[in-house]
Amino acid sequence: MLNRRQFTLASGTALAGLILTSSGRSFAQDEKVARLRLPIDPEGLYNVQSISLVVSDVLGNYLLESLVYLDEKGQAQPWLAQSWEPSADGKVITFKLKNGKTFHDGTPFNAAAVKFHFDTVLNPNSASPSKAMISALEHVETPDDMTVVFSFSKPFAPFLNLLGLSYFGFNSPTAVKAAGSAYARHPVGTGPFMFSNWVLGTSIELVRYPDFKQYRPDAKNQGPAYLDRVILTVLAEEGVVASALQTGELQAAQLTADAVQPLQGDSQYHIINDQNAKNLMFIEFDYKKPPFDDKAFRQAISYAIDRQAVLAAAFGGNGKIALGPLSRGIPGYDDSVAQKYGTPFDAEKAKALLDAAGWKENGGLRAKGNMAAKFTVRSYADSTTERALAVIQANLADIGIQVDVSTADWGTFYPGLLTPAWDMDLNRWTWPDPNVMSQLFRSPGHRQLLPANAAIDGALDASDTALDPAKRMQFVSDAQKAILEDRLILPLLTDWPITVVRNELQGYRLDFLGRLYTSDLQIAG
């Protein structure tokens, strides 16, 4: 065994060695490098296997491209596709592809690559989470090298919008086949950056694809990316991220409103709100349980919530209050319907409606017959939901309704929704297409609680099968109106994700689906 002196010497040498060998990675002087934050290490960079936010961001922003993108009005526009044409019965859509794209490994992008992706998603052995999003897709054919024919079991209108998501961006079939299960660690796409290196749990390095051709006319830079290299650094703790922004070790990071606050007003940063955000925070009810089966009661509660206060408490005001059942960022959001049929905050009106419905107040708590107005509202545990619930609880107390609030982590809360053990829940969904309403409100609804409603079900079914965009949007409006009229939802707000960008990083801009125009990014100086 070591004696004391030997031990001291050995540990001292080890420590000194540790410090001396720590040479930071250095890059050539004129190399343009941007460093951005990842909140967690992606589980694997393969869109067939994962639909998590961080995976979609890395793939969608840098590595992969899709058939279509959505323009600032939310209309699908050709990207890797040249054009498309639905058949008369709407069950077949034929895409023509643009020429001249190649994957980072030299494989040509063609109909076979498109078919390969969708075939892999549809293959039950892949257990792909994106399969359920396109459940109506039956098969994909390639009559020639640049033509892809999608066949559906029924007309499937959301398809075009969904094609713009990074879940349906294309991987090199050669690389996928060659790498097998290791592919998720070495993704190969057609995007402006190529995968270079991944230090597990630490960082992902991407380098410019020198032969990149920009097929999106809305990007400012129509050539290869300006940056030579992008380093995506995994940093979980927001306090640490803020420090890294201060020292310049990160040039951009998405943060919550709380973490942004100390950086706000500092001239070395600019702050970018994604005002096209497609999330909606809302309250839904147990529609089978009295008094929530009564539209008049749901209506009364809907007037009681001060959405502006909820937005301020939960998101520091970063966002916009919602009166309609669809997020403003989703194509088809109809503001006139929201304004006309929505329930803006009006506590007096809420009280009057409760009075009229027979809920008598007694010592601050209302009751009807022998039912006291005491309920439970649950949500997933998060600082935003907890603060929102505090406001909601106070608002409801003001009109004589007492609610107990409780939160659990998502894994406990979400499956619990299917076993109705409570009266109301506060929830938040993000989805880019208006068919989110079908998920939530097409009877029997995602919680299996909704009675059939011909107006709502009819409008939703029509909107999901109408391939003509203008006609579809009319059905989407009808659905919003019918859902609001039946008071199936208490919409609260859409929050805007916040990104803090150091001024030296220029050109940080998001498209309608929140994809970053990474080839436009530049480092000043």
């Binding site: 694997g44 399969k131 749990g201 993000t430």
Partner: protein, 310 residues
């Protein structure tokens, strides 16, 4: 000696089986699994039913917990820790390098804790009731009361943002310094207190008085005569503190993005990635038990009065 070690190692088996059983029971009580967690907020469960069912069957999640337990133990006996559902990779690939990172971090933290704890403790005892003692004890109190996550952020603010000595974003081996210091400094505080009181106790003993009467220098008194005896008590505390260090690593690793098993455990639990969680629990428990065994052996080696096979 050998017999003792073997016996202690064999005792690990029932302990580990008990830990496994408890975690499987806990899993049975949690209302969701990794597959549901993968679909978080994206789609309603009914539309993804087929994909969910395929994945569940693949990982035996559709079976009752005791059947899953037998599958798991069977795999384990073949040296197979299973596959992470979230990462779609063998658990052992993900844990291997992270385990090394955690051991490096806790090892360095322990060294820092010992250096600071012993130095301040000994100094405080030798210069009892002077300003040195008061300062060391006060700092120690702060250390005991300081939560690791707050101390960690404070260190980043001072050393990275203000002084710009160390990077915030970890890269290169130097990245270990701040987390190791955050973890070690907090553990140094109780060590310092124990070292101080133990030294004071030893310094009062007759043999120290006798040595002093023989004209031994104060340095020789402290380091040659008192310290070895005071260290025996400190060692007991160190053995116990290693558990704290491993636990504290879970927090410190997350703050400093130090990619050890602690950080992975936090994620694995959120993902309900059971194979991953289970393996981390097993490895942490085994590490803790082995370290305690080592502490016991060293204890006997330092103090001949302690019999291992009593």
């Amino acid at each position: 000696m050998m017999q003792y070690v073997v016996r202690r190692l064999l005792l690990l088996i029932p302990v580990i089986i008990t830990i496994l059983l408890i975690t499987f029971l806990m899993k049975a009580l949690i209302p969701t699994d990794a597959v549901t967690a993968m679909y978080r907020g994206q789609l309603s469960e009914k539309d993804a039913a087929q994909a969910i069912a395929t994945l569940r069957a693949k990982y035996h999640l559709d079976l009752p917990w005791y059947q899953q337990f037998f599958f798991y133990v069977g795999d384990l006996l073949h040296g197979n820790f299973g596959e992470s559902i979230r990462l779609r990779r063998p658990v052992i690939d993900e844990i291997g390098y992270r385990y090394v990172n955690t051991i490096l971090l806790t090892g360095l933290a322990l060294a820092i804790a010992l250096i600071f704890g012993l130095t301040t403790g000994i100094l405080a005892a030798a210069r009892r009731n002077t300003w040195l003692d008061v300062t060391a004890t006060t700092i120690g109190l702060f250390g005991i009361s300081m939560p690791a996550f707050f101390f960690g952020l404070l260190l980043i603010l001072v050393f990275s943002v203000w002084l710009r000595l160390l990077p915030v974003v970890p890269h290169g081996p130097i990245a270990i310094l701040l987390p190791a210091f955050a973890l070690g400094a907090i553990e140094a505080a109780p060590l310092s207190q124990v070292a101080r009181s133990s030294m004071i106790d030893v310094l009062r003993r007759d043999y120290i008085q006798a040595a002093r009467a023989r004209g031994q220098s104060e340095m020789a008194l402290i380091f040659r005569h008192a310290l070895p005896n005071a260290l025996i008590v400190v060692l007991t505390v160190v053995g116990l503190q290693i558990g704290n260090l491993l636990g504290g690593a879970f927090i410190v690793e997350t703050i400093f993005s130090w990619h050890g098993i602690g950080e992975l455990a936090v994620n694995a639990i959120q993902w309900r990635d059971f194979a991953l969680t289970q393996a981390i629990i097993l490895i942490s428990a085994a590490t803790y038990l082995v370290i305690n065994l080592v502490a016991d052996i060293v204890y006997a080696w330092l103090d001949p009065r302690v019999e291992l096979l009593s």
